[in-house]
Symmetry: C2
DNA sequence: TTGACATTATACTGAGCAGTATGCAACGAA
DNA sequence: TTCGTTGCATACTGCTCAGTATAATGTCAA
């Protein structure tokens, strides 16, 4: 019927066409649920209704799978926040837009972002191959760069008198931690309409930005 | 020389007199460093220069050890914050004192509090004996109660017009998460004099309380 | 001195798991 | 049709680890 070949399936449809992404989703679910060490590769495979062979066909090790999963989450954040920071306005307004995008992106694909936070740093001490080590370093560098985007905008806001001055690193880290709240306490319960989610995001952004001492 | 028996060794001296506490400290270090699942009981024992036998003499399982470790941290928080909330003054002043105590207590025994946060909830899904389950439930209940103390004071502050109103649960969770920042990014580097620590605590408390919209 | 109990080490067992080897089916190209 | 290649499943291996059994040592009381 449809010419399946002509339409490169770029985005997420009902069934993920790329096996890689299906694996990543299963991995995100399991890793975020039980942690890296407590999750077995067999478990991830079973969660998709497949077996280990499939995973090791696409990923070289459990560690690589973990890093790829976290990386996937970070990709989404970078995309969305980069888009959001293009809005015109004061540093404060841009920071608000970025924060909003950050929270909404996180909530949309919560498992990935839980994995990303789950101590990419802590979880994989030692016991990593050089290959994994390299991937991990790249991921950490990108994470720092992501944080740097926020820091730059905050600095601008401080210089423009929108925010009160202070230790920029501490300010940034505290802001982002507040924004990450959903990763810690959010659980998809009954209702949770898109409006609810937006409300939660509004609240988080509001309290986090208030913490910067905006427009007082 | 000294009559060792007459002086019940209540507090932490150079060498912890209670084997339980020595074990808890080693466990806190290891668990916070590599996570629950990735830490073996042998590792904890080696970290003290002892062997597994010692640990299993005092704790019935690895899970119980983990819960006891987290519990120990929570005990300290409850003690200190209860003391701090006795200060006279507005709700805002009491909350500030409590927050300060919270942060300083955390930094003083960081490994314990990292364990406490390390997803007491997430880390131990399934695979727990009924005994462990019961201990875990008690711990979680106490954790909720601890959060409740903060919520009560915040509510009071809102009623007195010190803080802007909003979803009390979200406000409380965001406040505490901000205060917990040190558990995520603090690393004991070179200097770190008591003054530095106090400065960090001041900053965290300041930004977190500002987020409540105090005295605007 | 003896016996009961507390404390710790050592040795062992069984289970779970990461990673590998191999086989097999489907598919496209020659 | 045949052959190579991709995409998986199945079976196996070696290791790590929680928990246990046992023994050795110390301590205190009678």
């Amino acid at each position: 019927m449809q010419d399946a070949k002509s339409v490169q399936p770029t985005e997420i449809d009902m069934a993920p066409p790329q096996p890689e992404e299906a694996i990543l989703r299963a991995a995100a679910f399991c890793f975020s649920d039980r942690g890296f060490s407590a999750t077995s590769v067999d478990e991830v495979a079973r969660h998709m209704g497949y077996t280990k062979g499939r995973i090791y066909h696409y990923f070289r090790s459990k560690g690589e799978l973990f890093i790829a999963t976290a990386s996937f989450g970070l990709d989404r954040l970078v995309e969305e926040v980069h888009a959001a920071m293009q809005v015109e306005g004061t540093a404060q307004q841009r920071l608000a837009a970025m924060s909003h995008a950050h929270v909404l992106t996180q909530i949309r694909d919560l498992p990935f972002h839980r994995v990303l936070l789950q101590g990419v740093t802590m979880v994989m001490r030692g016991s990593t191959t050089p290959d994994e080590r390299e991937l991990l370093d790249k991921l950490l560098a990108r994470q720092r760069a992501y944080e740097g985007i926020f820091r730059a905008v905050i600095r601008e806001g401080v210089e423009q008198g929108d925010f009160r001055p202070g230790n920029l690193t501490l300010i940034t880290k505290t802001l982002l931690l507040s924004l990450n709240g959903a990763c810690f306490w959010y659980s998809e319960r009954e209702d949770q309409s898109p409006e609810d989610l937006s409300m939660i995001a509004d609240h988080l952004v509001g309290q986090a930005l208030f913490g910067l001492g905006e427009r007082c």
